[in-house]
């Protein structure tokens, strides 16, 4: 490794890191929180056996799970404009990734909700709570605790999956590395560095996950 490459890598490190902070992390957080909301609604629709809706959400899960995310991205970003619906790169990625998290995590969330003893729901009823109040105050908080480890895996997976948004022209970590390398031809080092950035972000999340789990454990 020459001194030139070293200086270049130090410079590009901050560029990549900042892009991570400004694009990858916001996209991850936006898509994950929306996705989680979808996951809970989908799970609850199934548990409460809401007519019609429970069938629709099965179709939704089926489609999302059985088609590749990159195809979904292409459909939204390149396909929809032909029928007059145009989203920016970021919004397209956010939409597709939210739907993906929603579908994948709904099963996790549903299993977690169903792991809370049904007697607690009955106790809520006896306390005068409605189904939804019981969910909000008693069942879902406990389900979240159970679902926490698998959900953490999902968010870490999502950080990495945001790199797919490269294919719909989002200037995220990978695209930035690619642009810099295109000028200097140091593909090897820059792609390694892009990997390092993902490694850093995901490691931070892993540490946060462990801390949060310990904190949750103390509160029961």
């Amino acid at each position: 490794m020459t001194e030139r490459i070293l200086t270049e890598l130090v410079e590009s490190f901050w560029k990549l890191f900042m892009v991570g902070l400004k694009v990858t992390i916001p996209l991850t957080l936006a898509a994950f929180s929306t996705g989680l909301l979808i996951a809970f609604l989908v799970a609850l629709v199934q548990i409460a056996k809401v007519p019609v809706m429970r069938r629709l959400v099965r179709v939704y899960i089926w489609i999302i799970r059985c088609t590749p995310m990159i195809v979904q991205l292409f459909v939204v970003y390149f396909g929809l404009p032909t029928i007059g619906i145009k989203f920016s790169s970021f919004v397209s990625a956010w939409l597709v990734m939210s739907l993906s998290i929603g579908a994948y995590c709904s099963e996790t969330v549903r299993a977690a909700i169903e792991s809370v003893p049904v007697g607690q729901l009955e106790a809520c009823y006896c306390d005068g709570l409605t189904f939804w109040q019981a969910m909000i105050h008693v069942i879902v908080p406990q389900a979240l605790r159970t679902a926490f480890p698998p959900l953490s895996n999902s968010i870490i997976g999502l950080v990495k999956d945001t790199s797919l948004a490269y294919s719909v022209a989002l200037v995220e970590i990978l695209a930035t590395a690619q642009r810099i390398a295109a000028r200097t031809y140091d593909y090897f080092w820059l792609y390694l560095e892009a990997g390092l950035i993902y490694l850093i972000f995901c490691s931070v999340l892993t540490v946060l996950q462990r801390k949060a789990e310990a904190a949750l454990e103390r509160r029961r």
């Binding site: 009955e122 006896c126 105050h137 605790r145 029961r220």
Partner: protein
């Protein structure tokens, strides 16, 4: 005060409650006895609207409710007037003892936090758990959990409290502390309907005893008469068999009434 009329319930082809009717007066402690599968839990669950009966009427304080169909408004009103204590406690795992007692007040009745906690604290004190208010259920013993559950059932100051075998899930050495609390409530004049297998408790605390079998009430009497002077053969047999294992083991099963009653009285 509370009147169940012609409660009928089938699970599939299995008739579990066959037109059961039961009157509970103010201050009554009604013990419901009966062999396993006789429909005691189902009766209580129907009365608490946890299971919908196929037909039946429920009257509480001159208000009449259909046990098959009820509007959510009526249900809310009814649920404030009754408390329910489960066999396996069913405490909220994400709430402290105090949080368990106050949740209904705060969420369902929209009571301010301070006021709800004041009620919660005094109830927990009454069941002997003043020093356990901030404990989560997983940190409490079974007996303590059930006492929290009793405090929770009392939070809305209900007219009637239903208990489904409140001590069956407890280790023998913990049943006493729970039964003592229920006895104390009886002494304070609470109206209660208690499904139990604890014959001693029924004898000492209940004012009335109802004996169920195969979805019907076989015999019903005030507690003293019920145990001292059972009318039906089936009831006699049940009382005889349920009083200590030792007494059944020692004596032959000729059913000699005089010896049997001595066993019961002792």
């Amino acid at each position: 005060m509370l009147r169940l009329q012609n409660v009928y319930k089938k699970f599939g082809d299995n008739v579990v409650l066959n037109n059961v009717s039961l009157d509970v007066n103010q201050g009554d402690v009604v013990a419901i006895l009966g062999p396993s599968g006789s429909g005691k839990t189902t009766l209580l669950r129907c009365a608490g609207y946890l299971t919908k009966a196929d037909s039946g009427t429920l009257i509480l304080d001159d208000r009449q409710y259909d046990m098959k169909k009820i509007s959510s408004r009526d249900l809310r009103e009814y649920r404030q007037k009754v408390g329910f204590v489960f066999q396996n406690f069913n405490l909220y795992g994400n709430k402290t003892a105090l949080g368990n007692v106050t949740l209904g007040l705060r969420v369902s009745q929209k009571m301010p936090k301070a006021q709800a906690e004041e009620i919660g604290k005094s109830l927990l004190e009454r069941v002997g758990l003043a020093d356990r208010m901030d404990y989560y259920p997983s940190k409490l013993s079974g007996g303590q959990q059930q006492r929290v559950a009793i405090a929770r059932a009392l939070a809305t100051n209900p007219e009637v409290v239903f208990f489904d075998e409140p001590t069956s899930a407890l280790d023998p050495e913990l049943t006493g502390e729970v039964l003592n609390v229920i006895k104390q409530l009886a002494d304070e004049g609470w109206t209660m309907l208690v499904v139990t297998h604890e014959m001693e408790f029924a004898k000492k605390v209940a004012t009335r005893v109802v004996f169920m079998e195969d979805g019907e009430i076989v015999e019903e009497n005030n507690a003293k008469e019920f145990f001292e002077n059972p009318q039906k053969e089936r009831t006699k047999e049940f009382i005889f068999k349920s009083t200590t294992w030792a007494s059944t083991a020692k004596k032959d099963d000729s059913g000699d009434n005089s010896t049997k009653q001595e066993t019961i009285e002792s």
